[in-house]
């Protein structure tokens, strides 16, 4: 008797929907085992991690705040991945977006500049992220350099640049030597949706981006081009679509969205630049993109779930005394299961009872 993986005659629609759910279930089971190994009560731990935040209004708001950058980045990444362009460096584009937008906030600090500042910051953030993403894209189409490697390596360049700026030229002289810029002025701050809360206007931007991406992918020739280049490159060439141009275009879009996420995050929640402005949104967004099946609406749901792991991780750190890095472990396990479960869409398991013997010569 043996277990074999065999190709399905056609893709399973049931599995296309079920595979992210199976992946989440497997992640929870593995998480329970992990907690047990750490000597924590597994059921209690999972409850603190994944259920308690859902009952707390503050935590719910925080989930939306954390989901905002994830949605913005992941929608852009989904466009890339659908087109077979592998942007792994959204984290770097996020940081560069924050730097470019933050530059204007730093430069206009203490002047009587008007409300155009915030709009200009958002624009600069998007442009900065796009230009930073253009580097690996151009290297890819011009020299054939793997965009996976170059985009990833540029993350570290961006991190060090931000570190340098906040410790060096842009440091707040009145900041007691902390590596931060001055607090942004009111005109450089994202307005809140509800007075006194942390839920900011960026969440609306994220929803608009989801709606826009849904229309582009579902209704426009550009969306068709993106899907065709990724799914059937030869047919795409026959259709007259250039995979090289599209690589650059999707990298520019995803870089712009990541950069926008960066400046939204900084102007709305942190209000200044500092070396550490992202808990790895750019990488978590990769998981979000795949968990959401590269579909904008799916991404919205997946981003809320991943945001939950951030919040749950923080409260688990407090009440269970488990390391915060456990959150990253959870996210890694989740990506692993998501990719593994996707196999089930095109393949299925079958038990074979009479193993086929290769009868050599009769």
């Amino acid at each position: 008797m043996q277990l074999v993986l065999e190709r399905r005659p056609e893709r399973s629609r049931v599995m296309a929907l079920a595979s992210p759910l199976i992946a989440v279930a497997l992640t929870l089971a593995t998480g329970a085992a992990l907690f047990a190994l750490l000597g924590k009560p597994p059921v209690e731990a999972l409850k603190i991690y994944f259920l308690d935040p859902l009952r707390d209004p503050w935590a719910l708001q925080e989930i939306a705040v954390k989901a905002t950058p994830l949605v913005l980045i992941a929608v852009g990444l989904a466009l890339c991945y659908l087109a077979n362009a592998w942007n792994i460096g959204a984290e770097g584009q996020f940081l560069i977006g924050a730097i470019c937008g933050g530059w204007l906030a730093v430069k206009t600090h203490g002047t009587d500049a008007g409300y155009w500042v915030l709009l200009a910051m958002l624009l600069l953030g998007a442009i900065g992220g796009a230009l930073y993403a253009a580097i690996p894209a151009l290297f890819k189409v011009r020299f054939g350099a793997s965009e996976i490697l170059t985009s990833l390596m540029l993350v570290y360049v961006a991190e060090l640049l931000l570190d340098y700026l906040t410790r060096g030229p842009w440091r707040d002289p009145k900041g007691f030597n902390f590596p931060t810029t001055a607090e942004f002025d009111a005109v450089a701050t994202m307005p809140m949706l509800i007075e006194g809360s942390r839920l900011h206007f960026g969440a609306i931007i994220a929803l608009i981006v989801v709606a826009g991406a849904t229309v582009v992918l579902g209704r426009t020739l550009k969306g068709f081009e993106i899907k065709l280049v990724g799914a059937a490159p030869r047919a795409a060439r026959f259709a007259g679509f250039s995979d090289k141009t599209l690589t650059v275009v999707t990298f520019l879009i995803s870089g712009a969205l990541a950069g926008l996420a960066g400046i939204v995050e900084v102007s709305a929640t942190i209000n200044h630049l500092q070396p550490n402005i992202s808990p790895g949104y750019g990488f978590t967004a990769i998981i979000v993109a795949f968990l959401g099946r590269l579909n904008p609406v799916g991404i919205l749901i997946a981003a809320l779930f991943l945001a939950l792991t951030f919040i749950g991780g923080e409260s688990a750190q407090i009440s269970l005394k488990v390391p915060l890095d456990l959150t990253k472990v959870f996210q890694g396990i989740l990506l692993f299961y998501v990719l593994a479960c996707d196999t089930l869409i095109l393949y299925r398991f079958r038990l074979v009872f009479a193993p086929k013997v290769a009868h050599g010569v009769r």
Binding site: L228, R234, A235, F238, G240, G360
Partner: protein
Amino acid sequence: MAEAAVAAAPTLEIPPAPDEVPLLEAVSITKLYGDFVANDAINLEIWPAEVHALLGENGAGKSTLVKMIYGLLQPTAGEFRWQGQPIVLSGPAAARARGIGMVFQHFSLFEQLTVAENVALGLDKAELAGLDERVREVSRSYGLPLEPKREVWRLSVGERQRIEIVRCLLQDPKLLILDEPTSVLTPQEAEQLFRTLRVLRKEGRAILYISHKLEEVRALCDTATILRGGKVIATCDPRSETAQSLASMMVGGEVGAVRSDGAKKLGNPRLVVRNLNYTPDDPHGVKLDGITFELAAGEILGVAGVAGNGQDELFAVLSGEALADDPAAVRIDTRDAGRLSITERRRLGAAFVPEERLGHATAPRFKLSENALISGHAASPMVRRGFIDRAQARAFVDRITKAYDVRKGKPDPEAVSLSGGNLQKYVVGREILREPRLLVVSQPTWGVDAGAAAAIRQAIIDLAARGAAVLVMSQDLDELYEISDRLVVMCAGRLSAPRQTRRADRGEIGMLMAGVGMKGTANAARP
């Protein structure tokens, strides 16, 4: 493999006298792919110490037959006999255990490993001792000089082929199958290969030699079996035939029903190709060398030729998937089109049907209405200001369905779910319904059932009758005789002078396809 050899021993103990039974006999071997008959009751005898040629055009069923002999495919019906005993060749290992070795057209070698290491990969552990010495010895005694310690990437194509041959010879085969071995060799290398093969014959080994090069077969082979359309057409002694007579057997002697409307009025030249040269990026591609022809409105020009002689490259350069260096090398309706994209050429009224319907003409997992956009987005109401009008796309699919009788399970299925014939009708219909002024179509009826093939040919003829210029590339000579007005032959990246199809002699066309009598034909496959 060792176990299989042991298992095979009992039958080998009582070998009948080699002169009385063939080494390998195929008895009424039939292979079906769905409804398609790839091999139709093939009978074949291969005797010891015989070089046996298997001749035929592409698609004649040579590869299918050979793959069954090597155990890669199982026959649907019929049986193989080995020295008179019925056998089942369940896989290549079983075939090798019997003493059947095969050298493929495409090598499977690891570039970074040495000659000896590559040979070792095919052997059992027990056989590895003293391998270098054995490789050197075998290669020397058969005139296949090889240095065991050299890395493969340093070697020429001819030397690489020797590795494959030595790999087979180390297993002491009784039957060696060679699949178009000279297609990658220079004439000198080929000459050396022939010497080796003659030595092997002298040792009593049988060789099954697959080729479509007639002169070569006449020089080397004792027997030739000619396949056409999956059937054995003749078995003969090639030395007592002429290249001419072999060619006409290969491509079919009887001239099909040719259209008699000879007084067809042709319009202005619509596609003019002048001295078109093109070097593909792919090192295994075929270089196009000075392609020149004219195609008039209302005319159907047939391009005959064995696959892999530059047809793919010509299609790519004509469609705009690949660009010529010289803009004037391809002119559509007096406009220089050599550097125009496929979309721009479509806007000039051109349409294209590539050979591969799944993956090239269509995206397998996309619905038919989405696939309609692949060629339709260039100029049609299906796309307006960048937005897709799905209702229009679905209506277009309905029109194709109605006009070309595309059978499908639901109104708008994925392309992959259609049968080959229906998908081909969809693809041809998709292009013809756009009423192109120029249609370039490759293998319009490849692997399509007879009914669909007739419908597709009729659609092409009707399109030309409405004044469009049509270029048809096909390996099915009967098809070209049936629908084309003029014929050219493509071989090794060059094009022959055109002939009136009605007056074209099949034997002569067959010779040109085999590269005989082609003016200044270079061996384009040569590295």
